[in-house]
Amino acid sequence: MYRYDKYDQAIVDARVEEFRDQARRRLAGQLTDDQFKPLRLKNGLYLQLHAYMLRVAIPYGTLDSRQMRMLGHIARKYDRGYGHFTTRQNLQYNWIKLEEAGDILADLASVEMHAIQTSGESIRNLSSDQYAGAAADEVCDPRPWAELIRQATTFHPEFSYLPRKFKIAVTAADEDRAAIRLHDIGLKLVKNDAGKLGFEVYIGGGMGRTPFVAPLIRPFLPADDLFSYIEAALRVWNRNGRRDNIHKQRIKILVHELGQEEFTRQVEAEWQHILANGSNVPREEFDRIAAFFEPPPFETGLTDEIDRTDPDFALWVDQNVKAHKAPGYAIVNISLKPVGGIPGDATAGQIELIADLGEKYSFDELRVTHAQNIVLPHVRKADLYTLWQILDENGLATANLDLISDIIACPGLDYCSLANARSIPVAQKIATRFADLGRQRELGELKLKISGCINACGHHHAGHIGILGVDKKGTENYQLLLGGSGAEDASLGKITGPGFSEDGVVDAVERVTDKYLAVREEGERFLDTYRRVGFEPFKEAIYG
């Protein structure tokens, strides 16, 4: 993993001191709220429903056990004993005091972490495949490129006052585990016929009020040209982006309004212009960064056998453990979705325990996923059973990865000041209704995603089943969407019809799954069936 050099550390430390002074002045009454707000937002500090909320960046979802342990320490010392892992591979603390925010940032800086660019009109935390560097199906580790973009764009003056926030995701496998086509820029590493490494570049995706699946803007961009091409795309947007209308500021609107062809033409023209000045990051710099992502010293000659005599363990292996590129190793998913729990929440103790497990069993590496789970990327198959027993004792062995109870849910009206309806209780009720794991496995892969308002932090547009909370004359109401996907087969869900009450939407989900079981064909996932039979049979099942 990337390690700060003395410049990185000095910048982050200086930023902590700057913020301490800003917070001190606000507390002393020398700054008004209007003056202070942009300063705190530049450091990821929001004011939410009950308290200040701090959003900590976990670049491309990768961290080590020392960092994870610090996240647990902060949860215990400064928050109310827990942290919340989010869909953007960040961690949020919901109960922060302004008086202590500077100390928290200093603690984060001591382990090479910060909250810079987790808010505001900036290039946000880069996201990536949580299996990067471990996945059996990737062409190479995408993280050096993510880190390169992070370094090249952080504090870059041209990207400091963008029309709106900007999100970039980088992956390197055919299976898209980072929802790249729902980002402002989605990058997929591929090899061309000549064996040369490059990117498929998707631009203009996103959810929120106006959702779009990003079109493919460039089928093959040589990897060495990554920075200049991104710069060209951002520059075209910076120049033409609609700063006059808050609902039209995102690059997806520009791509849509100009049309894919014209947008691409402008980016290519700008790119040629930039290339003439040679602004790509030098190869040596990339090599320096890439050296931090060398694979860990995998042992050789390990067994691929897994003793499956314990049936609960076998179930967990089938559901939560994925193929690794090195023989004898596996990727372990730790579900933060126990039945009835709050998706993405982990206690300080759990966070620290997971840190210890990462240190002991996964070469000190951990990952956070956009589905609000945690990954130990490099576990010896021989250690799986011991690991599972420890997880099980601590409520962390729920074997529901990608099943209906592995729900993504935003904080909704329980924590978020923009919300129209609560998300978490709906997630809890659905998970409880479908608590039986046999029933869940019978349903197979089924991604259910809930947002408490149109901002779509809970990715409801991309759920096989999506739920959107709306305000109906002052009461909570829930719309049901079907057929979305955030994966390589990305699509946007379609609203089924009039919304439901909280309990009503749980029943409606059950009618959808019943219909699916009645009409599915051998080997189909819910999404496959939906795409084959279409919307109407489901609509009929829901509304009768």
Binding site: H50, K97, L98, I342, L413, D414
Partner: protein, 98 residues
């Protein structure tokens, strides 16, 4: 009735105007009639409250009840974590919100 709310500047806690200062408990909130703006203006100067606003509420025997569910959740705490609310030992506290 109209009541005033906001977040305490140093801690971020939800607070309610009591007529002479701020309380964590909505039960202590007082009807400010048409004086809300003036109070908030003065309070802004004192830098004790963040995002002060005037909201609608109804008077009940147990004190003011905010008109909007969002403010009732603010008054109690998250409905999904009774242990983190202002009334952790009252199992029925959540019913007041919804």
């Amino acid at each position: 009735m109209k009541i005033l709310t906001g977040n305490d500047l140093p801690t971020g806690d939800v607070i309610w105007w009591t007529g002479s200062g701020w309380s964590r408990h909505v039960e202590d909130a007082v009807d400010v009639g048409d004086k809300g703006e003036a109070i908030l203006h003065a309070e802004d100067g004192a830098c004790r409250v963040n995002g002060g606003t005037i909201i609608d509420a109804t008077e009940t025997p147990k004190g003011p009840r905010p008109a909007h569910i969002k403010d009732r959740i603010r008054a109690l705490g998250p409905t999904v974590r009774p242990d983190l609310t202002l009334k952790p030992s009252d199992p029925n506290a959540g019913n007041w919100v919804i």
